[in-house]
Amino acid sequence: MTKVYKVSIFYFLLFTLALLATAIALFSLKIGFSKADVLHYYLGDAEHFIVAKTALGILKIILPHIFAFGLFMMVLLHFLVFTEYRNSKQLRYTIYTAYITVAAELFSPFFILAGIEFFAYVKIAAFFLMSFIQVYLSYLLFHSLMQKV
């Protein structure tokens, strides 16, 4: 990794953590972390005046996220190509896991709307795994930045 970019990447990692913190706060506030919370958010809940989401409504929410996640994951993952993890199995598995997890997080609401309640668990698990992967990748990058200073 070129020395001149280390400073930029270090700050990028700090922003990544800030982004993750706001994402967790938003998920917690708008959806919630239990199966019932997720089902209420997507299927509606008359008791709490929550209107059921439509497929189009969900698509409008995930549309910017599809591009943003693709870009964000690419940026975060591609930095690791310039580290000692470049040819490791660990990185290869993490790349596949990251993109599959993001896809599961984004598209699971459609299955919830289709009546498959199990996908509420998929949504929650994917969100936590995605958050973990971001922290893990940030750690690997940070570790790599510090090693070569």
């Binding site: 001149v4 930029s8 990028f12 700090l14 922003f15 800030a18 706001t22 938003l26 943003a68």
Partner: protein, 157 residues
């Protein structure tokens, strides 16, 4: 990020206008952001306070927590992507000169501080709003200066 691999950006006939285009669009984004913020949440402490806390005299409701978090979340994403791209170009042209490192650190730290100060203004004390205003303008001016100095380096230095 292919530009990071090209030896001399200033001498590259294709990459120089491409980099110039990127820098000009970043400049436009930074300038447009002033107008958008002015018209939406406010640029200065008084209007920002009204947005966050509401204003009974003008029948303004405070911003909801969901709207606030959505704003903070999208702001963080755009900020990190813009500053990463800009800093990559800037560092490629200025290398690790003391001027470049100081400017980069001031811009990045103030950008991070602006996000933190805005969150603290909403969740902790509105007193942090002045810190937000100062850090917001600092990172914007830093980023504008980084863009202009990169353009200068591409053509005149």
């Amino acid at each position: 990020m292919r530009f990071t691999l090209i030896k001399d950006l200033k001498q590259d006939r294709a990459m120089r206008p491409i980099m110039s285009g990127l820098l000009i669009f970043i400049l436009l984004y930074l300038l447009a952001d002033f107008f958008v913020k002015y018209a939406s949440i406010g640029l200065f402490s008084e209007t920002l306070t009204h947005t966050l806390l509401g204003n009974a005299d003008e029948f303004l409701d405070p911003i909801t927590q969901a709207s606030f978090l959505e704003h903070l979340h999208t702001e963080t994403f755009f900020l990190m992507m813009i500053l990463l791209t800009l800093s990559a170009v800037f560092m490629r042209l200025w290398h690790t000169t003391p001027f470049a490192l100081i400017l980069l650190n001031i811009t990045m730290l103030s950008a991070l501080l602006s996000l933190l100060a805005l969150a603290l203004s909403y969740y902790s004390s509105i007193g942090f709003i002045n810190l937000y205003v100062v850090s917001y303008f600092t990172w914007h001016l830093g980023a504008i200066f980084m863009s202009i100095s990169s353009l200068y380096r591409l053509y005149f230095d």
